[in-house]
Amino acid sequence: MKDMFKKILMTVCLAAVLPLAGCVEVAPTDKQMAHDTDKDYEFTYGIRQFLEFDAKNPAGINIAPYFDFFETFTLKIYVVDGKLSFLDINYGDLPCDIYPFNLPAGKVECFYDETAIPHALKLATGETLATFEGGEFVVKFVLDSQEINYKVTFKTLETTREDYEKAY
């Protein structure tokens, strides 16, 4: 029963983590991951799209190609014993905050909240970091104008090679 629970948990974690990737290169598939539940992994993601929405552009405009600093932002997720447990967000040179709260520096505890609708990646203290929508994690926010909305999607930059090899 415990093993079954672990497998379910792992699948959930991977379903949550892997879809972050817009263009996965080395990340294993759900099927590969499902048979090994106790390994630790580290996934590093970067910004794939930085979409800007307003009344006249309801479909959004991806402004990521226009700024180099978007490439310096990283989101690192740590899966420990098959459980999504920690993350580390580095704003890099991004000149704005995409969260309305002060993000703790360095590696912080987090969890995947399946009771939330939509499912969400949250800090241990409860603040939502990303929601799981349309098969991927997204971060939605406003900056200054309440009439302009932003949405960030992610791509895989790196999967910890050592752990990956250890797992297979």
Partner: protein, 340 residues
């Protein structure tokens, strides 16, 4: 008669009437309007009952400068005449109408290409369908209001031999800008949208001049932004054209155009950007159109907590021998942030 019942009945009466022959007869736009004042536009329409219809309600869509913030600050009311004569129901007098601009357009099927409006709000759908109506140089928005009364399905009332007259009054604040622009108005059905047969072809436009009208929304601009409305803590694209309305400016024909300027900060200081390199060079969209996305704090090399209170930009070539600024404006074009 109880107030609620009365509202239902007159709404029913109106609903019946709009079925087949609604005409927006006139728009009265005041003259001599001052900045930072209150003005009133009156929209009148006449309706003649013909067939059973409903449920439905009356909505009015209007194209107005975003700076007026009509959705949140305007008072919009609906009155009628001859409802009592037609149905024995007291005519409403200055009944409040409420904004539905950000509500999803309820019905977007039925005629040509309407699927493209699916999932859009009233405001978005109107903008997509009608655009800025000639206000090429200013930030306009479509706002939509509707009456608050309950709607019901009604019977054929085609026997009436006179029209029911409607009058919508829109009181709004003009803001600090001396705007000259084209206003547009259209009646629509709260449920049927612009597809109700009674609402066809009832658009009317008119020009309003606030103050001296020097901020002319109808003139082709040299600069624009995407989004058109923003605050300094947002990302936006600045566009510059070297030819507008058939007039060429000093930078016409230049391959490389640079965007420089000045920001005022909340602490009273100013920061000027005048370097002309890859960090300020604009992208060539066409032979005459240039653009560059900016995040103002980053563009001017400011601290991430710096608060910008004003932003001016001008356009120049590599050696600075050709510069485009508004006449008499040393700092350049002012890019004003929105209030919200």
């Amino acid at each position: 008669m109880k107030k609620h019942t009365r509202h239902i009945l007159w709404a029913v009466a109106i609903v019946a009437a709009v079925t087949a022959c609604f005409q927006l007869s006139e728009v009265i736009i005041p003259t001599g309007v001052k900045t930072n004042s209150t003005a009133e536009v009156i929209v009148r329409g006449s309706i003649k009952p013909q067939t059973a219809y409903g449920p439905e309600g009356i909505a009015i869509a209007m194209l107005v400068p975003r700076a007026w913030d009509v959705t949140n600050t305007a008072e919009v009311t609906l009155s009628s005449q001859n409802l009592e004569k037609a149905y024995g129901v007291k005519d409403p007098v200055d009944e409040k109408m409420v904004p539905i601009s950000n509500v999803l357009m309820p019905k977007t099927t039925g005629t040509e290409g309407l699927e493209i409006y699916t999932g859009l709000t009233w405001s978005q759908a109107y903008y997509m369908r009608y655009g800025d109506m000639g206000n090429v140089g200013g930030d306009m928005e479509w706002v939509i209001f509707t009456n608050e009364s309950t709607k019901l399905t009604v019977q054929d009332l085609s026997g009436a031999d006179y029209r029911v007259e409607l009058e919508v009054k829109i009181k709004f604040k003009t803001g600090e800008d001396p705007i000259r622009c084209i206003l547009a108005f259209e009646f629509a059905g709260e449920i049927e949208g612009w597809e109700g047969v009674g609402f066809k072809n009832n658009m009317k436009t008119g020009t309003i001049v606030v103050g001296d009208g020097s901020t002319d929304y109808t003139a082709y601009p040299l600069t624009s932004t995407v989004p058109t409305s923003f605050r300094y803590g947002d990302f936006f694209c600045v566009q510059f054209t070297s030819e507008a309305g058939g007039m060429k400016n000093a930078l016409y024909g230049e391959r490389d155009v640079y965007m420089c300027g000045t920001v005022y900060l909340a602490d009273g200081t100013t920061v000027t950007l005048d370097r002309k390199d890859e960090t300020t060079r604009m992208n060539n969209v066409s032979n005459t159109l240039y653009s560059r996305y900016i995040f103002p704090r980053h563009y001017f090399g400011l601290d991430r907590k710096a608060e910008i209170t004003n932003l001016y930009l001008y356009f120049t070539n590599k050696d600075g021998s050709k510069v485009v600024k508004p006449a008499g404006a040393d700092l350049g074009f002012r890019f004003k942030q929105s209030n919200k």
